[in-house]
């Protein structure tokens, strides 16, 4: 096994999540795919340099992912309550 194989695994995960992000029709599902993309980036980070420094960065990325999920879902729930839909195609105005 080479580092290329480990990177290919992470990149496949990232590309599958990106495909889902680009094709799905729901804001909640888009955020789910976004989390999976961040997860794939974490996998590549740890797989390509398996030492304590990269794992420390991965721990920080976990915290960022948690913060992102919290704010993202709060935003989505606010948008959904205002527009009565979770379909991004139906949300065209972002006037506060």
């Amino acid at each position: 096994m080479t580092q290329f194989h480990l990177a290919a695994l992470g990149f496949s995960l990232f590309a599958a999540a990106a495909a889902g992000f680009l094709t799905c029709g729901s804001l909640v599902r888009m955020l789910m795919f976004l989390e999976l993309m961040l997860n794939a980036a974490n996998v590549v980070l740890v797989a390509l340099k398996p030492d304590a420094a990269s794992q420390a960065y991965a721990v920080m990325l976990f915290a960022i992912a948690a913060a992102e999920a919290g704010v993202g879902l709060a935003l989505i729930l606010s948008l959904a309550a205002a527009f009565r839909t979770l379909d991004p195609a139906n949300i065209k105005e972002l006037k506060g």
Binding site: L9, F14, L22, R29, V46, M60, L77
Partner: protein, 164 residues
């Protein structure tokens, strides 16, 4: 040998669960597939000798973040949830874009073909990780607490405005 098989097996399962998520129409089943992908990733971390990350992956991603998604799916009325995936031009273009992205990333990673990796079980202790986090990375780590505080305030203010 067994660690190689574990990385390939669980990594492949994670990719498979993510691909199945795209074609799953039921949102709750999609959330369960995401949970499967996250747990498989935790197993990949374990095979890469990142034991603490595997535990954090289960607690944070598969626990806390998945709970948030399930709550979000529960509180939104079923009528607002996603419609069946239309086989539109947008979908085809999205998949094509993802394939192009994958091809470019693999092309960029081509120099790594010569870097051999031998996976062996080792222990990355929490003490070593803590030394890094509170040593050279202390500024970034403390900055993260501000990010999390800001996200808590933002989430509370957004939902409070909605309730009012």
């Amino acid at each position: 040998m067994i660690l190689n098989a574990a990385v390939w097996g669980f990594g492949g399962l994670a990719v498979l669960a993510t691909v199945l998520m795209i074609f799953q129409r039921d949102s709750v089943k999609a959330a369960l597939l995401m949970l499967a992908a996250l747990l498989c990733t935790a197993c990949v971390y374990l095979a890469l000798s990142a034991q603490l990350l595997a535990v954090l992956q289960v607690i944070l991603y598969a626990g806390a973040i998945m709970t948030l998604f399930v709550v979000a799916l529960t509180v939104t009325p079923a009528a607002w949830r996603d419609r069946p995936l239309p086989a539109s031009l947008k979908g085809v273009l999205g998949l094509a874009a993802a394939f192009v992205l994958l091809a470019e990333l693999l092309k960029l990673a081509a120099p790594l073909r010569s870097a051999a990796v031998t996976l062996g079980f080792s222990e990355t202790g929490t003490l070593e990780l803590a030394r890094r986090l509170f040593g050279p990375f202390v500024f970034q780590f403390e900055l993260l607490s501000l990010v999390i505080l800001a996200s808590i305030v933002a989430a509370v203010s957004l939902t409070a405005r909605r309730r009012a």
